[in-house]
């Protein structure tokens, strides 16, 4: 399966994915990696804010909130 087609934005509530890469080399990319969004890590969509943005994810056993455009930088492969 071509994994590069999916980003974190494509996960629906309750769905899980595995991080493939974080795009870019700027400070946003560095921050995302520091927060544990490393290639190979499992990540789950928990829910969205009342106005549809930002999104809450679970990674490394903790909860993190990302705006849609930030989540769009994280490429994933979907999991069952």
């Amino acid at each position: 399966m071509s994994s590069s087609l999916w980003t974190l934005c494509d996960l629906k509530p309750g769905e899980r994915g595995r991080v493939v890469s974080v795009q870019g080399t700027d400070s946003l990319a560095a921050r995302l990696l520091e927060m544990g969004l490393l290639p190979g890590e499992e990540i789950e969509h928990i829910g969205t804010a009342p106005m549809g943005d930002p999104i809450e994810f679970s990674v490394y056993g903790y909860r993190i909130s990302l705006r849609r455009d930030e989540a769009g930088r994280v490429q994933i492969e979907k999991q069952r």
Binding site: V22, T25, D26, S27, L28, A29, A30, R31, L32, L33, E34, M35, G36, L38, P39, E42, I46, G47, A49, P50, M51, G52, D53, P54, E56, S58, Y60, G61, Y62, R63, I64, S65, L66, R67, D69, E70
Partner: protein, 746 residues
């Protein structure tokens, strides 16, 4: 104060219970300030430790703990992180280089917390790793082998539940042992530096050595750790500050070349650091941390599902904000009355001790009036920070930002701006102080600059007076809706509506550039720790009293002087003395008292017109004429620039009523309605009343707010900017209002 025997830095990720540990170690006696040049909080505490761990009866030593800001990384991307790097490497002026470091980590989330730890141990300082929230580890089905971690990481490890004060004795004992360990032992710990491990390729070591050699050759004292940060931190090269100017150009080109070589060797800067450190963490913790693949559902998760729910989450948020707003405006009213009563008592005491004259006027009108206007805000500040403390400590604050982010981002701020702006409806001072929770600098600046536009409680008296005097009492919907109420509500909302385009413009032209980010941890809910909450409230109150209090004091004395001099007060002082004697005499003539009071007030209003302030009023009369104001209104508005609510008392004095006037005073209302231009037309028309109200809605008439902006932005540029933009906005707004209303209702 005596010199501390040793300094220990306390560092950790946000939401790890760092404040609880700090409080448990140091008790309530923390000293809070700002680091020079930045608005990062500098918090230190002290504790006594026995010098000899084996003998508790041995003499004790004073240890200073420096509480560093909560941060996820030492990569200097924000002011918080830059300060942490400076303090840890001894480059921060006024802070001793720490003798040891405590890294506090959330034991339920070890890997991400160990990232910061892996950067801190690069410093080679004696380090203690505290695994906090130990009580939650087992309930989440997590297993952590603390002894194994201690062996693998080469540092002592202590498990605590700081909010329950469990494990604190062990932390103290470990600190004593750490401070007494001999330097030889410490050096052996350096073996475990992550950058010296295999995860960091040799080419990285080579480049570090090359750079270090050049710096040493150029006589720049820098540690290996700092050189590594210089090489890795591309975003904000703040370590550059310690590089002399003549070397910066060469350093820049050397860094570019080094990064280029690293990149072509398959080591991309800066991203490789993160991956290498996490690989190091994985190898060190292998087999020592077990976590179930699926986190068992907790009460926190259930609560979170409701509080961030599409409808219920929004409803809860609105109700909570309503509760906070009501508390700030209603509950604060009682303590404010007490403070007012106390002020009246002090003023009366001074009046009974000192006869009429400049000294009494300075003390009563200048000092008590001025300092009193600051003290009046204290209850609101205390209540707001009590709520903020509870919401932050229990974990809801990040959810509130999560819920509001979309809306606030659309007008150029972030979800974290909402609460500060909301509380600015009570008073901009606590609101601006609350912007410290916004970590993005640009979002925080925009929030600070629009916060004074929110209609604070000090504007209300002006609206009430104008509405009561000039808006007819017409009722609609069988008496349920009054025109006066509608106008009052419109005036209250005006500032917030204007703030939307202002925020958009500020973001568009002054704070453009990198888009703000909203990467935020949503920590598990927990019961707030009262010790942490109350110490935070106390810190805020102290900071407010000391800093804002000194400047508002000076300003109010200056305004008093401008209104008092250069007139000759001898006659009015004499008649005041006679009037006071008459009042205290047995069976006084009431009619005579009233007559004398009237003549004293008339004389006082004449003196104000002759004072510097009065002269200024005549000078500005042509400026305020287009707004529909006369010179008297000009003087009153001028005098109310330090604190807008002063206008009521000043109008009272000018219209010769004495300064004990309030907005409900019917005589002031009547005087205003009766005021006339020389040609006999009334001064106050509907257009003038609206023009004054719009001016007060938009103008920066509050010295305390401006001083708070100065303190929070650490620069005089921003209070001056706020003052200029708000005053211009107010003038233009008032002019437009006057002309439009005059057209509409001639």
């Amino acid at each position: 104060m005596s010199q501390a025997a040793a300094t220990i830095a306390l560092i950790g990720n946000p939401n790890t219970g760092k404040s609880s540990l700090f409080n448990a170690l140091c008790g309530g006696n923390a000293r809070v300030g700002n680091y020079p040049g930045v608005t990062v909080e500098h918090k230190t505490g002290r504790l006594l430790l026995p010098l000899d761990a084996r003998d508790p009866s041995s003499s004790t030593a004073l240890i200073e703990i420096v509480d560093l800001p909560g941060t996820y990384s030492l990569a200097a991307r924000s002011a918080d992180e830059a300060v942490s790097v400076d303090v840890l490497s001894g480059a921060m002026s006024g802070v001793r280089r720490p003798d040891a470091v405590i890294v506090i980590a959330d034991a339920t989330n070890m890997e991400r917390n160990l990232y910061l730890f892996s950067q801190v141990i690069e410093l080679g300082l004696p380090t203690l790793l505290v695994l906090n929230m130990w009580d939650r580890v087992s309930s989440l089905g997590i297993q952590v082998d603390a002894d194994g971690l201690s062996r693998q990481l080469g540092v002592p490890v202590v498990c605590t539940s700081a909010s329950k004060r469990q494990g604190i004795t062990e932390v103290r004992n470990s600190l004593v042992a750490l401070l007494q360990s001999d330097p030889g032992e410490r050096a052996s710990a350096i073996v475990s530096r992550p950058t010296a491990a295999s995860e960091f390729p040799e080419v990285f070591q080579r480049e570090t050595d090359l750079l270090l050699k050049w710096l040493v050759g150029s006589k720049v004292a820098m540690e290996r750790f700092q050189v590594q940060r210089l090489l890795i931190d591309t975003a904000e090269a703040h370590v550059h500050r310690s590089i002399p100017n003549h070397l910066t150009a060469e350093l820049a080109s050397r860094l570019t070349e080094a990064r280029g070589r690293l990149s072509s060797a398959g080591v991309p800067i800066p991203l490789f650091e993160t991956k290498a450190r996490y690989a190091w963490i994985k190898s060190k913790t292998a087999g020592l941390i077990e976590r179930p693949r699926q986190r068992p559902p907790t009460w926190s998760d259930t609560l979170d599902r409701w509080l961030t729910h599409r409808w219920f989450g929004l409803l809860f948020f609105v109700l909570l904000m309503f509760l906070i707003f009501q508390s700030i405006t209603l509950v604060a009213r009682w303590p404010m009355t007490w403070i007012e009563g106390f002020q009246g008592y002090v003023a009366a005491t001074i009046e009974s001790l000192i006869g009429p004259g400049p000294l009494r006027s300075l003390l009563v009108d200048g000092v008590i009036g001025g300092v009193g206007s600051v003290l009046m805000f204290l209850p609101q500040i205390a209540i707001l920070f009590l709520f903020i403390g509870i919401l932050e400590d229990c974990g809801y604050m990040s959810r509130a930002a999560f819920v509001m982010d979309k809306f606030m981002a659309s007008i150029g701020m972030s979800g974290k701006s909402f609460l500060p702006l909301m509380s600015s409806f009570a008073c901009a001072i606590p609101g601006i102080m609350a912007t410290r929770t916004i970590d993005n600098r640009k979002d925080r600046m925009v929030t600070i600059l629009v916060a004074p536009l929110m209609s604070c409680s000090a504007r209300l008296p002006v609206y009430i007076l104008m509405v009561a005097a000039f808006i007819p009492d017409i009722r609609y919907a069988s008496g349920w809706l009054s025109l006066q109420g509608i106008v009052l509500f419109a005036m209250q909302s005006l500032g917030a509506l204007i703030a939307i385009p202002v925020a958009w413009l500020l973001k568009r032209f002054l704070f453009r550039g990198e888009p703000s980010t909203f990467i935020m941890e949503l920590a598990s809910y927990r019961w707030p720790s009262w010790r942490v909450v109350f110490s935070r409230v106390w810190e805020r109150i102290q900071a407010f009293l000391v800093r804002a209090g000194t400047l508002i004091f000076i300003t109010s004395v200056l305004v008093w002087a401008a209104a008092y001099f250069p007139g000759d007060h001898a006659a009015v002082d004499t008649s005041t003395r006679e009037w006071e004697q008459l009042k205290s005499s047995t069976d006084p003539d009431q009619a005579e008292i009233v007559r004398m009071e009237k003549s004293i007030n008339l004389e006082k209003s004449r003196l104000i017109e002759q004072s510097f302030l009065g002269m200024a009023g005549r000078v500005i009369e042509p400026v305020v004429r287009p707004l529909g104001w006369d010179g008297k209104i000009g003087v009153a508005v001028l005098a109310s620039f330090p604190a807008r609510e002063v206008i009521i008392a000043t109008l009272g004095t000018i219209y010769a009523l004495g300064s004990d006037t309030d907005e409900n005073s019917s005589s002031l209302k009547e005087q205003l309605q009766a005021a006339q231009w020389p040609d006999g037309k009334p001064v106050f028309t509907l257009a003038t009343a609206f023009s004054i109200m719009v001016f007060f809605a938009l103008c920066a008439q509050c010295a305390s707010t401006l001083v708070t902006i100065q303190r929070e932005t650490n620069s005089w540029r921003w209070p001056i900017f706020s003052f200029v933009y708000m005053t211009s906005l107010a003038y233009v707004g008032a002019w437009l209002t006057y002309n439009l209303v005059s057209l509409w209702i001639p």
